[in-house]
Amino acid sequence: MENEQIVPNYWNSVLIGALTVALITGGLGIILMYYVAGAEPSMTLMVVSGLTLPLTCLFGLVGGIIATRHYAKTFDITFSIGQGALIGLLTGAIAAIFATLISQLWMMIDPALMENFYDNMIYSMEQIGMPQAQLNDTIDTMQQTREQQQSLSGIALGLLTNAVILGIVNAITGMVGAKIFASEE
């Protein structure tokens, strides 16, 4: 089989890309929760959270680019956009698994974090003078969300939807990475 080409293993690159995305997205989420849980409840807290959050947008899609860049540079190869899409897809799906593991592990390490986070958010809403009926609705919604997110089915659904969506966006960025770092053009 002289014509058979050996394709270098891309799993290291996939894991590096996935871990980076999981640490950035999961890590930023936890840091923000600590900030909200530890800060003095006030209007400023709500405003700062609202202003800081937009900075965290779109970090989740860098996995495909990181993985394809790492793969191309490590083996000094060119590859097709289809292979870039596959690497990105796997990176996104695995990043979702890592991010779920990180957040679940953290909730076991520090179970009081979630409690403090919700208490502080509710207290801040009271401080800004939210009407009682609206406040009650918000508290109910937060309670429901919390129960849903902590149930096994909630965790599984969250993992599945995150894996599908992160998989798709990282497949696209994987193609972009292949085009930039591994193209023959």
Partner: protein
Amino acid sequence: MNKTQIHNRGLYFSVAGASVILFVLALGPGLFGSTNTHLLSWQYEGFDLLCHQIPSRSYHLSGISMAVCSRCIGIYGAIMGGWLALPILSKMKITHKSKIGWLIGLIILNLADVFGNFFDMWSNTLNTRFALGAMLGLSVAMLFNNDFFPKK
């Protein structure tokens, strides 16, 4: 009769389908007439690692905020639109270098917009964020304008 030739047909149609699904999901529960408010819907959960999902920074559909902010919906919408329009866009002659230049330039422009707004240098709006996101999404789709539809 002239038939349009497509290289790598499987990949083109897979990405086209995936980009449509991504865009539809990003529109959020309002599209399906759901009354599920923020955070309870699976669409919100699916995008929570990708977008801040702040309602005041998102468009609303049927009174319910979309699953992503206005910049992100611009990106996903333009990737989908640009990808579906690749048969037409493939007729444009743009060098590989300039396509990458546009992409990097638009990433920098979007980052500058985020930080300029953050440091109070200017105030962006839903529509300006959408427009900048859409330009970025289109530049992503344009990157592939020579890959699927060969020039005659």
